[in-house]
């Protein structure tokens, strides 16, 4: 169970934004944060990961406090054990595919998981290649596998597929759904792609101007009126 109640003043292209994010997320839920760019979606992910400090509030994950302004608690990203995937892949160019995965291993952790994940993401053939030689879809599969090495409970995806072509997106969405099930993950996806949101998540938080404006099933909260009436007909 994730209990989130955070605020942060952000300054961006459209002036200042008061981000208020207040919600609860159940274990194994797949939640999407949907909204226009500049609404604060990425900042929420970064605050959850410990890469950005909120101005106030608290973050509680499975009874562990990760952040509490009043109690001056701010757990380092290293200790939060989350998996995170950015849009820009972020693979270490000096390491092979296998090297990227092994880098993520914890001290004394068995290397078995590396082979397992290479197989799951169909990267076995590419295990000794450097990231520079891979296609976008392959790179993002490496990033996905790497994010799962430490067996996190929480997977954060910050528009991970927006740089890929549609065919690749569909394939990777399937991978993500598969690992979400298989690893019993709680997954939070940031996306502004309607197709993706509908396919992936059962619950959508619509974030506009720093506030959660809607919270519910994709077809209920997304701006799909035209599409919906068409489907019903």
């Amino acid at each position: 169970m994730i209990n989130l109640n955070i605020s942060k003043k952000l300054s961006g292209a459209n002036g200042e934004l008061n981000l208020q994010f207040n919600t609860k997320i159940l274990p194994r839920e797949f939640v999407t944060i949907y909204g226009p760019s500049g609404a604060g979606k990425t900042s929420v992910i970064r605050m959850l990961a410990g890469l950005l400090e909120p101005d106030g509030g608290h973050i509680e994950v499975d009874d562990n406090i990760w952040f509490d302004k009043e109690k001056k608690i701010n757990v380092k990203p290293q200790l939060r054990n989350i998996g995170i995937i950015f849009q820009e892949y972020s693979l270490f160019p000096n390491m092979t595919v296998r090297g990227n995965l092994e880098f993520a291993l914890e001290k004394n952790q068995s290397k078995k998981i590396v082979n397992e994940l290479l197989r799951l993401t169909e990267l076995e053939q590419l295990h000794d290649k450097k990231p520079g030689l891979l296609s976008g879809g392959q790179k993002q599969r490496v990033a996905l596998a790497r994010a799962l090495i430490r067996k996190p409970k929480l997977l954060l995806l910050d528009e991970p597929l927006s740089a890929l072509d549609t065919e690749m997106q569909v394939k990777l969405q399937d991978y993500i759904l598969q690992v979400h099930q298989q690893f019993n993950l709680t997954t939070i996806l940031v996306s502004h792609d309607l197709n993706e949101v509908i396919k992936m998540s059962k619950r959508v938080l619509v974030l506009e101007e720093g506030q959660i404006k809607k919270d519910g099933l994709p077809l209920d909260v997304l701006p799909l009126n035209h599409l919906k009436s068409f489907l019903i007909r």
């Binding site: 890469l51 892949y89 270490f92 880098f103 993520a104 520079g132 790497r146």
Partner: protein, 224 residues
Amino acid sequence: MLDFEPFYLTLKLALTTTLVLFIICTPIAYWLAFSRSRFKVLIEAFVGLPLVLPPSVLGFYLLLAFSPENSFGKFLEMHFDIRLVFTFPGLVIASVIYSLPFMIQPIQSGFRMVPDALIETAYTLGKSKLTTLIKVLIPNIKTALLTGCILSFAHTIGEFGVVLMVGGNIPKETRMISVAIYDEVEAMNYHQANVYSSILLVFSFLVLVSVYLVNHGTRKTQYA
């Protein structure tokens, strides 16, 4: 007969200086690249001073500092039996200070070129700042490190003002190639001066060629 001692001494000084610089500059450059401290500007300016100061100014103050007549020099001599003025170790320290920006600046900009997301990814994978520095940052800025080393090495080879002020002109101890050239000209041994100078000229040219080769060859490093 050409005396190769100044060449040998100069190479020894340049190698020692580069090694010392490499060890001390990597952490300083890391701090300068990522710190948000208010004092960063001051440190940056201090580190950059040798770029703008005439070497004789730097040499003069180092000479004063190292001199056993003054407190720092006296302290070293009394407590550690170390004398830095007109000695090889003194020259190394002076050269390190003189070439500081040539090592720090390439490494610092190398660190800045590494995408933040790469560093943050390492943190979210549970890696400490030190592990991230050793396994992610340093291997990905090899070009910058190499450039820093070559530039510091070459800059030390070309020293004159600092070397003369701090080291003087003691054969087999502190008589560097640039000082030897000056000496030969003073003594009107133009042929000798010409031999020394042309070797230095060719050497410096080759160093620069290697810097550009390194840079062109690896500019394509891609962050995936």
